[in-house]
């Protein structure tokens, strides 16, 4: 799916064939280990860098510049993948815009920040700290997102996966422009860089210019998969927030590893479990029992966690949790028919084939493959899915250990608490 450019020790560049698309997509990211000590600094850094760089000294100048590039879509964002925190710069621009312009824009944002006396501008850092603090305080307002985040934290307790890539409000106070600039320099000098370009083959040479920017340097410590898997009994966590409906989440640890054969099995298990409208969870909890409107199971990138989430009446929490466990039990007893298994596999294959129709999906898939050092391409990946048997699914379902039951509920639950 992608071809590898020549490497330098720290920077690898990948090209994805985007001939059929009407845009070029350029993604550059620093692959950073997720650490409690630096998570907030990195999250804040993304915000500060967005505020300007030497050629475009404020956010308005940046906006005008990208509007001139036919509204090129750009961002500096934090992406959490397993126990990694990616500091990611991206620009997607119509092909009428020269690739050099897009490259120049991203390059300026990455290497030409606005700095005075070895520090980011005080005013900018102060404002961005306030904004980040407000955003962190408001995370709970998005009930669904908050419940997902909390359930992951509980399920991955005592591992780096529990660390929030959005940062922590209590860490913000101590950060100033000087400290943040030091962190930036450290990332620039030592961070592992990956560049993905999805565009025309004739243009890919131009992207190799990034190589020169990131030479030498000792790597920031990396990532070992399967490290520090959580142990102990499943936890039942109950939290309250003002809301009518309760959100129930359950986390299972399957110990499947991304990039390995077991991951293909986990994908199939997820599909059968709650991946689509024909899945056991959808058909039983929603269609048969009418317990909910939305229910689905999903995986968390670069981990072996399998989650279920649904919106229910709080008084139905126990019945729903039992229903979910029963559905998994069905899968662990090899009750899946050959036809059903084929349909599930076809469903997955279809989803993954669709990746080749969207530049962002192509990059995202490739990033995950590169991060787990499983650069085998889409076809090899899908061949593995094809090989999954009923017995594999059954074994995987048996292996899934319930880690966490998380219930976020509002008024109803509080009224019922005395019962």
């Amino acid at each position: 799916m992608y071809s590898l450019e020549r490497n330098t020790p720290r920077c690898r560049i990948f090209w994805l064939d985007g001939k059929k698309f009407k845009t070029n997509l350029l993604v550059l990211f620093f692959d950073l280990p997720l650490k409690r000590e630096t998570a907030t600094q990195t999250a804040l850094l993304a915000e500060v860098l967005k505020e300007g760089c030497k050629p475009y000294p404020d956010a308005r100048e940046i906006a005008i510049a990208t509007e001139e590039l036919y509204g090129a879509l750009w961002d500096i964002s934090i992406v959490k993948k397993g126990d990694r925190q990616l500091l990611l710069f991206s620009i997607e621009s119509a092909k009428v815009v020269p690739v050099e312009d897009a490259i120049g824009f991203i390059k300026a944002l990455v290497v030409e920040p606005l700095v005075e006396n070895d520090a980011f501008l005080d005013e900018v850092v102060k404002r961005k700290k306030e904004i980040l603090a407000k955003r962190l305080a408001a995370l709970k307002d998005d009930k669904r997102g908050y419940a997902q985040k909390r359930c992951l934290e509980e399920a991955a307790k005592d591992t780096p996966v529990e660390i929030s890539a959005d940062g922590y409000a209590e860490d913000l106070d101590q950060i100033d422009g000087k400290m943040l600039y030091k962190h930036y320099c450290n990332i620039m000098e030592r961070g592992t860089v990956k560049v993905f370009f999805c565009g025309d083959e004739g243009e890919k040479r131009k992207v190799t210019a990034f190589r020169k920017l990131f030479q030498g340097g000792e790597h920031l410590s990396g990532f070992v998969q399967g490290e520090g898997l959580p142990k102990g009994e499943p936890a039942f966590i109950k939290e309250h927030t003002p809301m009518e409906q309760a959100r129930l989440l359950m986390a299972f640890d399957t110990k499947a590893q991304w990039g390995e054969r077991s991951f293909a099995t986990l994908l199939v298990l997820n599909q059968l479990f709650g991946g689509d409208p024909d899945s056991i969870l959808f058909q039983s909890l929603r269609e048969r029992d009418g317990l909910c409107y939305d229910i689905k199971s999903y995986l968390y990138p670069l981990t072996g966690f399998l989650f279920v989430q649904t919106g229910i009446k709080a008084q139905d929490a126990k019945q729903s949790a039992v229903g979910i466990l029963k559905a998994l039990e069905e899968l662990s007893e090899a009750k899946v028919g050959a036809k059903k298994l084929e349909e599930a596999k076809n469903g997955i294959i279809r989803q993954y084939q669709a990746i080749a129709d969207q530049p962002w999906s192509m990059v995202d898939f490739s990033v995950e493959q590169v991060l787990v050092e499983g650069e085998r391409g889409l076809d090899a990946f899908l061949a593995r899915v094809q090989e999954v048997t009923v017995e594999d699914v059954c074994r995987m379902a048996n292996r899934a250990v319930l880690r966490t039951i998380y219930l976020l509920s509002g008024k109803e639950a509080k009224q019922n608490e005395g019962n």
């Binding site: 308005r60 509007e67 404002r127 407000k134 305080a137 307002d141 409906q245 024909d278 009418g290 349909e343």
Partner: protein, 415 residues
């Protein structure tokens, strides 16, 4: 299919013998293929003249949405699951003006297309299942009730509109939903699902000829009655409205009630997108000032909505300073009205909108969703793009002289 099929910038557009519209967007070298049936009847369809009785027939709020839920149920089983089995992923949605059923797949496109065309024309509403569906819809309504952005939007509309059904939530409410039964679903289906209200939209690397053959499955029905609306005053109902949901950071929407359009609907939509971006977008003087004054941390979201009997735009943001934001917005509107939109701003933002269109047009689902909207204005994608490139600055200035007036502004806040 008539001889007068038109091909505009790649989009095939035709009127079929059944009265349905047909749009096809060829996308060579794409694996994904998608199709949608758009029925031009949505949650606003609450009353129409009855062919049999003197008095108009009325439907409870949420009827169109209820049909959307139950239509997948067929005599032979569940169409939703059948798409899955045929390698497609299907879905549906209802909004004020339309109900849409769609799927996407890599293989078996024509099997899935036939399934789509068949199930939308074959309702099978059973009493017991209709009753059972109520608990699922109830859960859906409660889910929306918990969603701040949804609440702030409907609160805005309820302050803006006196009577027009756009003010009602799409799924109805807990009370109206209970009034619906299987007989009523059938009656409403017969009124709404007439083939002159259908549009079939297909996108992907597919043969147009074969689609047209399959589309003959749409059997012509007699034309349906138009939905009836009560007269809606031009004035807003209230200029400020506030609700509580216990969120830590308030969210708000600032809306302007506008004159409903009967022609040039798409042109106005394009002009509004440009105008709103010039007014509140990332590079706007308004946002720059609001950010400096710490009223806003990020640009306001914006959208324009129009349909039969209504038109409005809404600007969405968060924070404690919603009143200050709305006042600042009015100030900048006045400046723009007085001085006219900047020439450079206009051409830059139009360029940006063209870029957005280009980005959307490189994905099968993007084109499908785009054409679903353009079909409501009887316009093929290619024509929409051409129109976007041709709009002029003075049209935006004209629009500004007519619309977005202070006395038509509503501020809705959820805390």
């Amino acid at each position: 299919m008539k001889e007068t099929d038109t091909k505009k910038n790649g989009t095939v557009w035709a009127k079929m013998a059944s009265g349905a519209d047909f749009y096809f967007i060829p996308m060579p070298n794409y694996g994904e293929k998608a199709a949608a049936i758009v029925v031009k009847a949505g949650s606003d369809f609450l009353a129409c003249n009855s062919p049999k009785e003197e008095k108009p027939v009325k439907f409870p709020e949420g009827t169109a949405h209820f049909i959307e839920h139950r239509l997948f149920r067929q005599r032979w089983g569940d169409a939703f699951a059948a798409f899955s089995k045929q390698g497609a992923s299907a879905n549906a949605f209802t909004d004020a003006q339309k109900t849409v059923y769609y799927f996407s797949c890599q293989e078996n496109f024509f099997e899935n297309l036939r399934l789509l065309l068949s199930f939308v024309q074959n309702p099978y509403f059973l009493e017991e299942e209709t009753e059972q569906e109520k608990s699922i819809i109830e859960s859906e309504i409660t889910m929306y009730d918990d969603t701040p952005s949804w609440r702030v939007y409907y609160q805005l509309l309820q302050a803006m509109y006196h009577r027009h059904p756009i003010r009602n939530p799409i799924a109805g409410n807990h009370k109206t939903m209970k009034e619906i039964n299987h007989k009523l679903l059938q009656q409403a289906y017969d009124c709404m699902y007439t083939t002159n209200r259908f549009s079939l939209i297909c996108a992907g690397d597919i043969s147009a000829r074969k689609i047209i053959e399959a589309a003959e499955m749409i059997k012509k029905s007699k034309p349906g009655e138009k939905p009836l609306f009560e007269r809606e005053p031009e004035e807003i109902k209230e200029s400020y409205t506030e609700g509580k949901l216990g969120i830590s950071r308030p969210i708000f929407q600032i809306g302007f009630k506008m004159m409903p359009m009967t022609k040039d609907v798409l042109r106005q939509r394009i002009l509004m997108n440009i105008l709103m971006d010039i007014l509140v977008g990332e590079s706007s003087a308004f946002y720059h000032e609001a950010y400096t004054k710490k009223y806003l941390d990020e640009p306001l979201g914006n959208a324009y909505f129009s349909g039969e009997g209504y038109a409005f735009c809404a600007f969405a943001g968060s924070g404690e300073q919603s009143k200050e934001v709305s006042e600042l917005l009015l100030q900048h509107l006045e400046i723009l009205r007085k001085e006219g939109v900047g020439k450079e701003d206009f051409s830059r933002i139009r360029k940006k909108q063209i870029g957005y269109f280009i980005r959307q047009s490189q994905s099968v689902s993007g084109m499908l969703m785009g054409q679903i909207e353009w079909a409501m204005d009887d316009t093929p994608a290619g024509e929409a793009f051409r129109m976007m490139k041709a709009v002029r600055k003075n049209e935006v200035d004209d629009l500004l002289r007519r619309e977005l007036m202070k006395e038509k502004m509503v501020l809705s806040v959820i805390r």
